[in-house]
């Protein structure tokens, strides 16, 4: 009996140990990290996930055929990054990027507007137009009064966290305002959830502000049905007076979601320039060598079922920002708020 117990115990330990030894070997080595294999992996992931092939009229097979030999000929990471980067730039999509590790920074296509249009000079605004100013504790929101009863808040991105408390703070400081200017020019986006929640501070009731269709199959035309995007009242402090949202060509991604959500509110007027038209909601992927890249994975639509990818959202009142010390956009918004 004792011998049998010992045999069983030894069998138990041996089986467990053998299985344990095998675990990390059985799982296999993962994807191959040679340049040709990684090129195929990235090309395939775009083929399976990218949402704007048909809308933009992109022949992905032809692009792959053109760059595949180049990828097969590279011998260094820098050369490989250049080939992949060049291929991705063909999509002319602000949400498509490649981040190589150790071979330079993020590679992506830059819209001509990103370099040709003047940027917003927030310090000039603070000094010239605001009679009083503040910055919320997280540094996400700057604001003040631009005229009696006209508040101003600027949000340069919708990234990071802590927005709820900062919006409470900002709206509390501007509680005497009867009109509000919300400046999201040069806002490159961030979290769509954050952008929509901030728009909810100005909402009177739940409203649909747009739709998205998700790429959901291997064919370039495989998409989900329309999924409604809504904005609804949120937050301890809200503002439901007249709102003037300032936009420009460098408003993209979640900032465009914010504008979409704001412009369905009846008290909102969008002033400034057309937005960037970058609506793809990127999916992050990684290569076998640890490099990451992003793929637009949906098509966004306005509430009227219009796409704006590569086109942008046209403001209600178009005002171009010049290259002088004057901010024509903010001046026009103040004039509108004052009924001029």
């Amino acid at each position: 009996m004792r011998a049998r117990r010992k045999i069983a115990a030894v069998c138990l330990a041996a089986a467990a140990t053998v299985s344990g030894c095998a675990a990390s070997d059985l799982i296999g080595p993962g994807a191959t990290a040679d340049y040709s294999s990684m090129f195929e992996d990235m090309w395939t992931q775009f083929d399976l996930h990218y949402s704007y092939f048909d809308l933009r009229g992109v022949d992905w097979n032809a692009i792959g055929a053109r760059y595949r030999p180049q990828a097969g000929a590279v011998t260094t990471d820098v050369q490989f990054a250049n080939v992949l980067g060049s291929m991705l730039k063909e999509l002319q999509d602000l949400h498509v990027s490649l981040t190589p590790t150790g071979a330079g920074g993020t590679v992506r296509w830059y819209s001509p507007y990103e370099t040709s249009e003047p940027t917003v000079n927030i310090n000039a605004i603070l000094g010239k137009y605001l009679t009083s100013s503040f910055v919320t504790t997280g540094g996400h929101i700057r604001g003040g009064f631009v005229a009696p009863g006209i508040g101003y808040v600027r949000m340069a991105s919708f990234s990071e966290s802590g927005w709820d408390a900062e919006m409470d703070d900002a709206l509390g400081r501007l509680s005497g305002a009867t009109a509000m200017i919300v400046d999201v020019r040069d806002n490159l986006g961030g979290s769509k959830t954050t952008a929509t929640a901030i728009a909810g501070r100005f909402a009177d009731r739940e409203r649909t502000f747009g739709y998205v269709r998700l790429r959901n199959g291997p064919k370039h035309s495989d998409f989900s049905a329309d999924i409604a995007e809504t904005v609804k009242p949120v937050g301890a402090k809200r503002f439901t007076g007249q709102v003037y949202v300032l936009s420009n060509r460098r408003c993209m991604s979640s900032a465009e979601d914010f504008i979409l959500a704001m412009r369905v509110l009846p008290q909102t007027t969008v002033v400034g320039d057309t937005t960037a038209g970058a609506s793809g909601a990127p999916l992050v992927r990684e290569l076998a060598n640890g490099w990451t890249y992003t793929i637009s994975q949906w098509i966004a639509y306005t509430v009227d079922h219009q796409t704006f990818e590569g086109v942008g959202l046209i403001p209600d009142v178009t005002v171009k920002l010049g290259r002088t010390a004057t901010d024509e956009v903010i001046e026009r918004a103040v004039a509108l708020a004052q009924g001029r």
């Binding site: 030894c21 675990a23 059985l26 590790t101 998205v212 998700l214 790429r215 992050v284 990684e286 990451t292």
Partner: protein, 264 residues
């Protein structure tokens, strides 16, 4: 990155073996006299996985789990329901950045009938139905350390066989099951605020392969309470959608309580 699977598993198994060796009572019958059995276990193990929905790179690491098991023995049948959950913290097995956390929960049902007796060894065979869901939080090595969550769920059915024998006053049993087919929920991309309707696909032996193998020792088979030591090896490979492959070793310890007379 490799983990010291061999040495740590061996240590855990030595503990498991010592539980068996410590029993001084004579052998109990292969089939315990109780009709119902409830056990709770907690354990740790190592898991290695590749989930192509998130990454083509393999990740591995330590997993902690808890399990609850109820067994009912009406006559020649042994019916077992198991609920289990685990949390795994995973690191890439290469030298590049990234990390994963895997949260899994599942429910399994075994129905087995005694089919043969070889001396003290009882052989049972039957069916295992198993379902589990897996939420994989994958942190990429990009500049903003983007985190995406990938959710999948599987429901499988397949044959199971077990052998049990009295040992040191308790019962040593081994169980093996393989999934032959099932239903799979594997979204096309990461979990998003914008949700699509759930789409299930079927999977057969060509796209779904696996093995669940366990060794379990329960002490004091004729008493109301006992100690449980368990080792499980689980291998899984799904190629019907995004390729998902995992190997998990778990060693657990816990308590078992028995009640009711057999056949009641």
């Amino acid at each position: 990155m490799r983990f010291p699977v061999t040495s740590m598993t061996a240590c855990l198994c030595a503990s498991l073996a010592s539980v068996a060796a410590a029993q001084s009572r004579p052998s109990a019958p292969a089939s315990p006299p109780f009709g119902h059995e409830l056990s709770i276990t907690t354990g740790m193990g190592f898991t290695d996985r590749i989930d192509a929905s998130a990454s083509p790179r393999p990740y591995g690491g330590l997993a902690n789990g808890v399990g609850l098991s109820y067994t009912f023995r009406p006559g020649a049948w042994t019916l077992t329901t198991r609920a289990q959950g685990s949390i795994a913290s995973l690191q890439p097995r290469d030298d590049f950045a990234g990390s994963e956390h895997a949260y899994a929960g599942g429910l399994a049902f075994d129905a087995q009938r005694t089919v043969a007796q070889f001396g003290p060894v009882t052989m049972r065979a039957g069916l295992t139905l198993e379902s589990w869901a897996d939420a994989l939080r994958h942190r990429y090595g990009d500049q903003s350390s983007t985190t995406s969550t990938f959710i999948s769920a599987f429901g499988t059915a397949g044959p199971a066989v077990s052998l049990s024998m009295p040992l040191g006053g308790g019962t040593l049993s081994g169980l093996a099951s393989i999934p032959l087919g099932g239903l799979v929920y594997q979204p096309y991309a990461n979990a998003r605020q914008e949700r699509e309707p759930i789409r299930l696909t079927t999977a057969g032996p060509t796209s779904l392969r696996g093995l669940d193998f366990g060794l379990r020792y329960e002490s004091s088979a004729s008493r109301t309470f006992g100690i449980v030591a368990e080792y499980r090896f689980r291998g899984f490979d799904y190629t019907g959608g995004w390729h998902a492959r995992s190997i998990t070793n778990t060693t657990s310890i816990g308590i078992v309580t028995r009640f009711g007379r057999k056949g009641q």
